[in-house]
């Protein structure tokens, strides 16, 4: 029963993890670098949602929309004014630049909100117990929101002209430019959507616990591991990878104390890079 409970928790956590992991992998697919600034954008989203929820009294879903829009805007701006200028210098320079950026943005949040932990304005609800498995209503809502968001994203990529153009740039940027697709516009759009997803993921993570300026930093290793395990650049891979890492982190509690749970992310990256460097689903963008 303990294993079943951990697997259930892992599925819940993995589904939420998939949201920012899709953002990370989408940026890699289109812009060809790993944007570690995703961590601070998770934090920005979590705090934007916090302000919407506790200061302006918005319910959770509009607060999540606020988290998406604010972190997406920051993502677009930070790419436009910082990272885009570094991209010509190569993958490593841009990735290191994104680490510097994330430290700066995280401290920007810290200046505004301090270091203390904060919680969203949520009603107190009793956990549900089904067949001996315990699950909180908030976890179920988070799962449903994450599933809807991922489904909407898939529909956007599969059905809209803009979504297909994003996939085309991810697939073959040179050919996309020959076909008249403006890769700069696609880059802005992917930065907005990916960092919006990061912010949404940041708030979803915080809804289940609390938030502080390190909420993104604590999660980024799991997010990165999910993207690598699924196949960096593959959006379905990010979903699969997030479930693997989420369940793996929970099951690790059978052998490890919670403090070592993040080791699962390192282990997953190590195993994948050793045994299947392209990840579970390879590098297919969609």
């Amino acid at each position: 029963m303990e294993v079943a409970q951990l697997v259930l928790n892992g599925v819940m956590a993995g589904t939420v993890l998939a949201v920012p992991a899709i953002g990370l992998t989408a940026i890699f697919a289109v812009l060809r670098f790993t944007n570690f600034a995703l961590a601070s954008h998770m934090t920005i989203g979590a705090f934007a949602g916090f302000v919407a929820n506790t200061t302006f009294g918005l319910p959770i879903v509009p607060s999540l929309a606020t988290a998406f829009l604010v972190s997406g805007f920051f993502g677009w701006m930070s790419d436009e004014f910082v990272l885009r200028r570094l991209r010509a210098s190569g993958f490593v320079t841009t990735a290191i630049g994104s680490i510097a950026l994330t430290i700066a943005l995280e401290n920007f949040v810290r200046f505004g909100f301090g270091n203390q932990m904060r919680g969203y304005d949520l009603p107190l609800r009793r956990d549900w117990v089904i067949q001996g498995l315990r699950v909180s209503p908030q976890q179920v809502e988070n799962l449903a929101i994450a599933v809807v968001v991922v489904a909407l994203l898939f529909a956007f990529l599969a059905l809209t002209r803009t979504g297909k153009a994003m996939r085309a740039v991810a697939d073959n940027p040179m050919l996309a430019s020959i076909k008249g697709i403006n890769s700069d516009t696609v880059a802005r759009l992917v930065s907005f959507i990916a960092m919006g997803l990061a912010g949404l993921g940041g708030m979803l993570t915080g809804l289940d616990t609390t938030i502080d300026p390190l909420v993104g930093f604590r999660t980024i290793l799991s997010v990165f591991a999910a993207a690598v395990v699924g196949g960096l650049g593959s959006i379905p891979g990010a979903v699969v990878g997030a479930l693997v890492v989420g369940i793996g982190e929970e099951l690790s509690l059978l052998f490890l104390t919670p403090a070592y749970r993040t080791a699962v992310g390192f282990l997953a990256i190590l195993l994948v890079l050793t045994l299947r460097p392209r990840g579970i689903l390879g590098q297919r963008a969609y």
């Binding site: 002209r161 297909k164 153009a165 996939r167 085309a168 697939d171 073959n172 040179m174 050919l175 996309a176 430019s177 020959i178 076909k179 008249g180 697709i181 403006n182 297919r284 963008a285 969609y286």
Partner: protein, 235 residues
């Protein structure tokens, strides 16, 4: 009056690198014009320069009387020039139909009608429209790449070694398709290693050697020239 003019093109891949050393090239209305030459002569570099993937150090390119020198590939595509690279000329993870949609990206209103036309012209694309493009054979990929280029109804189509890596049968089918497209009035520039086939379907030919124009003239006359036959046609 030519549709496409490239004059005195100097271009290369680095600051000190000059692969093209003053090349002239033109495609007239309704013509098929081929560019042949040994490996490293600069044939593909010329096409990349014309299509905007490489910025020329000097020289000019004009399309229908409009200067397109050094413009971005997407601007040149909108001006009416469609370029099919030798490799990586499809979106492999997208379906055949999605590839055609992306081929017509700059003119979305006409896409449904032109997809129907593309599938009539190339029935294999119709039967495989839901297949991922990476699953197509080499010949089918080249057909798809050409069909994608035709989705914008360009004024000039530039093909870079379309028969490379194809079986003789697939290559023959492809050349038949090129001739058929040309009969409908499209001007075509084609770079080819398969010089005899290229000369056979072209009205005019350019021979490039070491980044310079070596010979230019009527394709049939060049094909009959003993020296050209010995060097490029193996006989």
């Amino acid at each position: 009056m030519s549709e496409l003019f490239a004059r005195a093109i100097v271009a290369g891949y680095g600051a000190a690198d000059e692969i093209l050393k003053g090349v002239d090239f033109a495609v007239g209305k309704g013509e098929i014009v081929c560019i042949i030459g040994p490996n490293g002569a600069g044939k593909s570099t010329l096409l990349k320069t014309i299509s905007g993937l490489l910025r020329p150090k000097s020289g000019t390119v004009s399309l229908d009387g409009k200067d397109i020198t050094g413009r971005l590939p997407r601007e040149i595509a909108r001006a009416g020039l469609a370029y099919v690279p030798q490799e990586h000329n499809i979106f492999p993870s997208m379906t055949v139909r999605e590839n055609l949609e992306m081929g017509g990206y700059i003119d979305p209103g006409a896409v449904p009608r032109r997809i129907v036309r593309a599938m009539e012209r190339f029935p294999v694309l119709g039967t495989k429209q839901r297949h991922a493009a990476r699953t197509l054979s080499g010949g089918e990929r080249q057909i798809l790449a050409m069909a994608m280029a035709l989705m914008v109804e360009p004024s000039v189509l530039m093909l870079d070694e379309p028969s490379a890596g194809l079986s003789p049968l697939a290559a023959e089918k492809l050349f038949d398709a090129i001739v058929e497209i040309n009969r409908e009035g499209l001007s075509i520039g084609i770079v080819e290693q398969n010089a005899s086939e290229a000369l056979a379907i072209s009205s005019k030919a350019y021979i490039l050697v070491d980044g310079r124009n070596s010979r230019t003239g009527d394709a049939a006359e060049l094909a009959a020239n003993p020296e050209i036959r010995r060097i490029f046609l193996g006989g």
